[in-house]
């Protein structure tokens, strides 16, 4: 039987606390993460952004303890998730705190049936088979893959595979879900499927979510905060609205703005005065309509 996970964040403690984290891979000279500090509260959705090579994947793996527990390398500073210090806690316990979904749908699924895939984590924790069966049913329901138990994972679509990976992580009953670019290889429909499941995790199950992604539209819509990495350093940690308005930062980190924000900037640069900035489609459209109506009014009078 698995032992109960004892660590609980004491009242008022954040769900994730990273303090002055430095990390270097075993065979690299330079630190890949440099002096990173931030906290995430329970139930928050934080988007990890930054150009390729900025250190998103590395930071994700620090959060579930794969770094340094199985990857090695040199760590300075502290990472505490759900009250557990990742450098002092075995992966088996961390896996019950932090679920992990990776970018590539293929390499993170390795069994022959959907059912076995979801069971894999709990089985490794030596959980009772009856309890695992309950968890399989629950996790597949959450990701909307009921009825797929006997199918081979290889026969699923990209979006279904990533949802299965989420279910496989959920079956270990974590409180935090870390997702490393889970939609970068998916088409728009697959992306939408995955985001809607993640929204459920946040809204209905109160999970804390950290997700590395480039998809600004979805970030604007769903994320509470953006953590921007640049060459291994944390350069901004703020709500999406604030981050997307920092145009110098956007340029520095090669970040695409949501399309509606691009439109607003374009209109501004072309002499149409807008009173505000927008990152969501609806607010942007309303704002543009108002501005154009005002303009039309002025022209008419």
């Amino acid at each position: 039987m698995s032992e109960p996970v004892s660590g609980k964040p004491t009242k008022g403690e954040p769900m994730i606390k990273v303090e002055n984290l430095w990390y270097k891979y075993p065979r690299t000279k330079k630190y890949v993460l440099e002096d990173i500090s931030f906290t995430v509260e329970k139930g928050e959705f934080v988007a990890l952004m930054g150009a390729n090579g900025a250190g998103k994947t590395t930071l994700c793996q620090c959060l579930n303890g794969v770094i340094p527990n199985s990857q090695g390398g040199k760590v300075k500073g502290r990472v505490v998730v759900g009250g557990l210090d990742t450098q002092e806690t075995p992966i088996s316990k961390l896996a019950q705190k932090v679920g992990m979904v990776l970018e590539d749908p293929e390499t993170q699924l390795f069994t022959t049936k959907v059912k076995n895939e979801v069971a894999f984590g709990p089985e490794n924790l030596a959980i009772d088979p009856d309890e695992i069966m309950k968890r399989i049913a629950w996790a597949l329901k959450v990701v909307r893959l009921e009825g797929y138990e006997e199918r081979p994972p290889t026969a699923l679509s990209g979006g279904q595979k990533q949802r299965l990976a989420i279910a496989a992580a959920l079956a270990m009953k974590p409180e935090i879900m870390v997702l490393d670019e889970p939609t970068s290889q998916l088409d728009p429909i697959g992306t939408l499927e995955v985001f809607s499941v993640i929204q459920d995790l946040k809204e209905e199950y109160g999970m804390t979510i950290v997700m590395a992604t480039h998809k600004s539209e979805e970030i604007a819509q769903f994320a509470d905060k953006v953590l921007m990495l640049h060459e291994g350093r944390l350069v901004k940690f703020a709500p999406p609205r604030e981050v997307f308005q920092d145009l110098e930062l956007m340029k520095l980190t090669w970040t695409h703005l949501p399309q509606i924000s691009e439109l607003i900037l374009f209109l501004r640069n072309n002499g149409i005065s807008l009173k505000d900035f927008a990152i969501l489609k609806d607010e942007g459209v309303a704002m543009v309509k108002e501005a154009l109506a005002g303009k039309a009014g002025r022209v008419a009078s």
Binding site: L102, T111, K113, G121, A126
Partner: protein, 266 residues
């Protein structure tokens, strides 16, 4: 030509416990190496073919093994015939005996040829035997069988993942070859043998790098799901030895005894 792909079915072989199959596979493999009597090795081959047929495994794959191996068998039989000295000569020496040093070379002896046939028969038996287990056992049950027989589950899983990776690698190889074709690299279709040999690194390097990257990513994914965290793990789909399994093992024991008696008596 796949050896490991599971073939859906409900035959006796499909329903047997993986442990029973692994035991029988191991023992029969040893027997195939022991048996020297042509009648008996023929009987074993016939048994294997009958089992193949009864489990409704693809006959086309079976035929492809034979086709693929014919050249090798001819080679083995000729080589054994040439270098195995025997009384009865099938093919007279190419070089007359009176030529100094190399005189008498090129004769094929009956004993040598027969030994070559025996080796060929053993090879074909072994090659047709393995799929009887791998094609009738889902890979996770195969691993579970090995684990229950005492192998650590980490090793069992590593083995099965390696097997699982073969089709992926085949797929990747064809992607790389297509990419090369797009750049007008046609050695694998039109090149000479030597050219093909030289071209293999160009195919192998991306494959090896891809496989290493894949292994690293898979390692991270498995670690994240607590693989190997505890000594023992549980299984939602367990295997149990049924009376049927013991019955089959008993019949198999009698069969083996008969083959061995036949081998040493005849």
């Amino acid at each position: 030509m796949s050896v490991v792909q599971y073939v859906e079915g409900n035959s006796l072989l499909h329903r047997l416990d993986p442990r029973a199959k692994i035991i029988m596979l191991t023992i029969l493999t040893i027997i195939i190496f022991i048996v020297e009597n042509f009648l008996m090795i023929g009987a074993i081959l016939l048994t294997i073919l009958l089992l193949w047929w009864s489990a409704r495994l693809p006959m086309k794959t079976l035929a492809s093994y034979f086709k693929f191996l014919t050249g090798l068998f001819v080679f083995i039989i000729v080589i054994q015939g040439l270098f195995y000295s025997g009384e009865v000569i099938l093919v007279q020496p190419l070089i007359p005996r009176w030529v100094p040093l190399i005189g008498g070379l090129g004769k094929i002896s009956l004993d040598g040829a027969l030994f070559g046939i025996l080796i060929s028969a053993r090879i074909i038996c072994l090659i047709c035997l393995l799929p009887l287990v791998t094609m009738t056992t889902p890979i996770h049950f195969f691993a579970l069988g090995l684990t229950k027989m005492g192998l650590s589950y980490q090793i069992a899983y590593t083995m099965t993942t390696a097997l699982n990776t073969i089709p992926v690698l085949q797929n990747e190889a064809s992607v790389v070859m297509d990419a090369q074709k797009l750049r007008a690299f046609r050695v694998f279709e039109e090149g000479s043998f030597v050219q093909k040999l030289k071209a293999y690194p160009a195919l192998a390097v991306p494959l090896v790098i891809g496989a290493m990257r894949r292994a690293q990513l898979m390692g991270v994914a498995m670690d994240s799901r607590a693989f190997g965290a505890l000594k023992r793990r549980t299984y939602v789909e367990d295997i149990i030895m049924k009376p049927q399994d013991y019955a089959v093992l008993a019949v198999f024991a009698v069969y083996c005894a008969a083959v061995l008696v036949g081998n040493f008596m005849l």
